[in-house]
Symmetry: C2
Subunit: 339 residues, 2 copies
């Protein structure tokens, strides 16, 4: 690659040179390094751990890549064997990635010396539990930060390292679905990671190719039940837990991704009904102008502006009507405020 490919990276690094220099000094003087992630690791955590781990090995370090799991989803299970569950005691340096709090770390906290710990994370809520903390929510993924660090450390980024980081960046930007006008630096990083030999199709297979025919039949059932309120501004559907057992496993994210393609829709609701326990799980999604966390809160739940949820007791038809009525009122209020 030519020098010109890195001008944007060099500019970015200039702005964060102080923290990178601190991290570098600690790495240089350490030999045995534990790289640690969070429980139930997602693509970003896995990519950051493995990319950083391999890079440190190329620098001659002995690396312990620790994650006790659990490795719950199909994506994570692909990588379970790349991690160890424990490490020996003479660790010079702990680097914890992508973990917003010490409680989220997937390793025994009493085995970590937090005075020898560097925390690297892109979550705004990170409570800086390390000796050195590089926390910046300007990045969509922790892997982007690892890339900048490796670049600063002058690591030779080989195809394998590039692939791990690419997997991570694409995981947290939802394979480009969360690219926004105010956060798109990951596009440039992805451009470089492909130049370094990463393959976006490999990432895609890891992320999206775990469905079965039964998943799709359950998805079809949910889609077929699709109904609307408020002139199509509210869309909803539902499944019963027993159907999931009869037909197949299904993630409501598929429903939300699909229904986001419907013209004019603003609020998306999915009910999961457990008849035995007489409970209903309500998931809400919305477009940018509607705050569904308010609705979730009224049902004793919570979440973000555009993605929230609640768990309620009751009979489905009643809960459904109460929910839709509430959302219709919210929509009317939003309309009257904006008019």
């Amino acid at each position: 690659m030519g020098v010109e490919d890195f001008e944007i990276i060099n500019k970015k690094i200039k702005k964060i040179e102080d923290i990178l220099e601190k991290i570098k000094k600690r790495i240089v003087k350490s030999n045995n390094i534990a790289v640690i992630g969070h429980v139930n690791p997602d693509g970003d955590c896995i990519g950051a751990q493995l990319g950083l781990g391999l890079a440190l090995e190329t620098l001659g370090k002995t690396v312990y890549n620790v994650n006790q799991g659990p490795f719950d989803d199909d994506y994570a299970r692909n990588f379970e064997n790349n991690f160890i569950k424990d490490t020996q005691s003479d660790i010079d340096l702990y680097i914890v990635v992508d973990s917003a709090s010490a409680a989220r770390i997937s390793y025994d906290q009493d085995k970590i010396d937090f005075n020898k710990t560097i925390v690297i994370d892109h979550h705004l809520s990170n409570n800086k539990y390390g000796k050195i903390n590089w926390i910046d929510d300007a990045y969509l993924s922790t892997c982007e930060m690892i890339f900048l660090l490796l670049f600063f450390l002058k690591v030779d980024i080989n195809e394998t390292i590039a692939q791990h980081l690419l997997n991570g960046v694409l995981s947290d930007n939802g394979y480009f679905q969360h690219i926004r006008k105010d956060k798109f630096f990951s596009l440039y990083i992805v451009y470089l990671l492909i130049k370094y030999g990463g393959d976006p199709n490999v990432s895609r297979n890891l992320m999206f190719c775990n469905n079965t025919i039964q998943t799709e039949k359950m998805f079809a059932l949910a889609l077929n039940r699709l109904e609307s309120r408020a002139d199509g501004k509210i869309l909803y559907s539902y499944i019963y837990d027993k159907e999931k057992n009869e037909i197949g496993d299904f993630h409501s994210g598929m429903f939300f991704r699909e229904t986001a393609s419907i013209k004019g829709a603003k609020i998306f609701v999915f009910f999961k009904i457990d008849e035995e326990k007489e409970t209903i799980n309500i998931s809400f999604r919305s477009t940018d102008d509607i705050d569904v966390s308010k609705a979730a809160t009224l049902f004793g739940g919570g979440g973000h502006k555009v993605a929230a949820g609640a768990h309620v007791r009751g009979e489905f038809s009643e809960v459904k009507e109460k929910t839709l009525k509430l959302l219709e009122d919210m929509l009317r209020d939003t309309a009257s405020i904006s008019s």
Copy 2:
């Protein structure tokens, strides 16, 4: 934006300076410029025409943005009013974008002086019907080429121009779904276009938010009929034309996009059955290692390696069995070759 943002562009432009210089000279000495696209314009054509047209206006040119349509899909219809169907006769320069042949141009060929015509296109099959022809299939979209040209012309790329070009690039890279290890320059262009003020969410709304509840119910029907052969390597489904009329319109692309998420699947087939005419439309898709154009050809159709189709006469159950048998044989041959 800083100089560093453009280092990669400057390097790219150096390699194509000769053709850009030729195009620039013709533009500079022209006042009345017709910008022309192809019939049934897609996102790339529309973005390239509108982006280039606005840019030429900022350079003080009188621009005639011509496209007679038809504007068949929802995306295109959004922009129909941005185009005129005819132009006056004293045109100094015709610029035709994204049209692989003169026959594809959405304007009367006898009204175009091809001696005064520049052709800009990324289709390999373009037969160079202009006086100046800039044809390069290294780009995923014509809009990338327009971006390089505008950059070379030192056009002030405002938000509107950036949005048009962004729409076009994202259309032809399938909103990042066709980014491959060997063609990913569009990522860098998208990065810059967002910096210039383009909003990828606007593009997404244009591309993906035209479905109705009825579209989804038809999609659900197709998904619910999903079946497999050859240990899940072949997936297929079908609809009857009359169902489309009863339930809703539905594009088989939705089926292929969704079923690509199924683990182990390699060949995807969709049958559209017209019982009245006794004809069946067969669409094939495949992963990189299977050439479905061969199957399509055997049925009198054709296409690309990973996307092909055929139109046959016959009774569905027979056609289905014949098709699946053929594909099973193909799979076996592929397996024996690669083993």
